[in-house]
Amino acid sequence: MAIEKFVSFLSTAVPLPIENVDTDQIIPARFLKATTRDGFGENLFRDWRYGKEGEPKREFVLNNSDYQGSILVAGKNFGSGSSREHAAWAIHDYGFKAVVSSFFADIFKNNALNNGLLPVQVTDEFLADLLEAITADPSVQLKIDLVGQEITLLSTGAKESFEINPYKKECLLNGYDDIDYMMSIRDKIAQFEASRA
C-alpha cells in the first residue's frame, strides 16, 4: 500500500522549547483506547493544551494563533518513553509534517518515519537559533529539503544538514511502504526458517 510521497516544503513553525517531551505528554494513555489510526490530533498534548474542563490553556503554544505551520520545533530528547505509535499519529493528524529537535528517542523516530512524519535532528546550537528566531517572529519560515537533507532558516539563510537512513529516505520520497517490500521476500523468509530447523 503506497503512502503519501514526502516532498520538500516551506512552512512557518511552532516552537515548543521543552526538553524530554515524552509520549505521555504527546498523547496521554487514556486516549489510546481507539482501534483506528484517525483522530488522535484532537488530543495532541492534551493535558498541556486543555484544562480539566476542556478549556484551552492560553499559555500553551498550540492555543496561540500567532504560531501556525506544519513544522514543530521542540527541545532535546523528543518522544521519549512509550512505544505508542499513537504519538506519531497524533502529531501527523494535527497537521505537522516534520518535527525538529536536537535529539529523538529511538522508537518515536521509527514510528514517525513509518508514518510520513520527518524527524529532523539538528545540533543544539542550531536548535537554539531556530527556537529564538521563530519565537521572536512567528512569520519566519523554514525550508525542509529531504532530497538535499537540509533545513534552512529563511530569514537569515542559516542552514544545517541532517541525517536520515538512506533506505528510509528512499521510502519517504517515493511513498514506498516497507511492508510491501517485506511481503515480496516472504519466500526468502521461509527459506531462512527452513535453514534453521
Binding site: K33, T35, D47, K52, Y167, I185, I189, E193
Partner: protein
Amino acid sequence: MVEEIKGGPSVLYIDRHLIHEVTSPQAFAGIDKRGISVFRPQNTVATPDHNVPTLNQHLPIKDELSRFQVNKLTENCEKHGITLYGLNHPYQGIVHVIGPELGITQPGMTMVCGDSHTSTHGAFGSVAFGIGTSEVEMVLATQCILQPKPKKMRITVDGELSPGVTAKDVILYIISKISASGGTGYFIEYAGPAIRSLSMEGRMTVCNMSIESGARGGLIAPDETTFSYIRGREFAPKGADFDRAVSYWKTLVSDDDAVFDRELQFDAADIEPMITYGTNPGMGASIGARIPEIYEVEASARKSFEKSMAYMGFEPGTEISGRKVDYVFVGSCTNGRIEDLRNVAQFVKGRKKADHVTAWIVPGSKQVEKQAHEEGLTEILQEAGFRLRQPGCSACLAMNDDKIPEGKLAVSTSNRNFEGRQGPGARTMLASPLTAAASAVSGEVSDPRQFLGSD
C-alpha cells in the same frame, strides 16, 4: 538475520512476538486491508493487560471503549489463529510477566512487542525490544522486522549490594547517572558480580527499565540462575531437549575481547535505596539526599528542571524523604512479580499501613496472584491493611480506572514518573517495593533501612 538491505536496516527474524489490546488493533486492521494472512500465527502470543480493570474481572468491562478494545483482541486472535490468554484465563497477565513465567522467553531468542518495556525479556539473554504498531503489522505479515544495528554499551556493577538495596535501586541509580536519554541508540549489556547476584525477577526489573535511559534493549548473559528459572516451565524445552538447549544457551556470552561502543563501571557499595523526585526517570537520587539546587543542575536542563519542580510542587534543595504520601502502588511489569510481593509482605508483616495512605497492590499475572494466595502473602498483606487487586498494568499508566487523583503524591514501583502518567495531575515518585512498603507503613517517603533489624 534474513538479509541486509543495502545502505539500510537488516531484516531480522523474530522468534517470539507478544501482543496486547492497545497497540495491535490498527496492525490487524492493516493486515485485513491488505487482504493477507498472519504469516506465522504460532509465533505470536496475546493477552489483554493495559486496559483491564483490576477489580471484578469476572464482570463485563464497564468502560465501553476498553471493553471494545479487549473484545477486538479476542476477535483478531480467533480470526488469525493466535493463542490468547484472555481475562480470567489462568495465564493472563502483564505481557512481560507472563512471557518469562510461561517459559515463552528463552535465551538467544529475538522477541518484540508493541510495548517499550519488552526490554524486560533481555534478562534471559534474549534480544528483546519494543516496537510501534506499523512494526507489529510487519511482524504479523512477515515474522520479520527492519532493524538497524544498534550500538553496544556495557554497564558493569562491581561488588555486593547492601541490605535494603534491590534491583530497582540499581537501575534507578544507573539511569540517574546516564540520564533519561543516555542509552538512546544502544543495547545495554548489564554485567558484573552485583548483577550476577540478582534473581531472575531482579534481573527483569533491571532490563525492564533500560528504555527509561533511552536504550531499546538491555540484556544479561544467561547462567545457572537463568537455566533453573526456565526449567519445568510450561513452554520450556523438556528432558533431553532442555539439556541441549542449555548447552546452546551457555554459549551466549560476550567474548572476552568484545569491544563496546561505551563502557561504564559502577560500584554496588555506592548504591543506596533510590527514589525519583522529578518528571523523568533520570531525575533520581538516594532517598536520604536532597533535591538539587537550581545551580547544581546543568544550565541547558534548568528550564525543564524548574517545570518539573513546579509540577511536583517540590522546592529545590529540600530533603526528599519525609514528604507525606497519599498513594502507594506496587505492581507493573517492573515490579509486579512474585518476589516483589514477597518483599512487600515480608516487610509489612506485623506492621500496619498508615491510615491516610491508599495502597494498591496489583499482581503482574494470574499466576503471581495464585502463588501469592498459596504462599499466604494475601493474608499477611490484608492483616497489614493492604488488599491485593487483580492482574493488569493498572496505575502504571492509568488507562483503566486505577488513576492517582490530581495533586496526590504516589510512591510507585512502576517505571515512569512523567507528568500525568498515573492520572492527570498525579505526582509520582518511583522506588523499589521495599521503599514503597516502608512509605506505606510510615505514611511518608521513607528509607526502608530505618526499619531493618528492628523486627
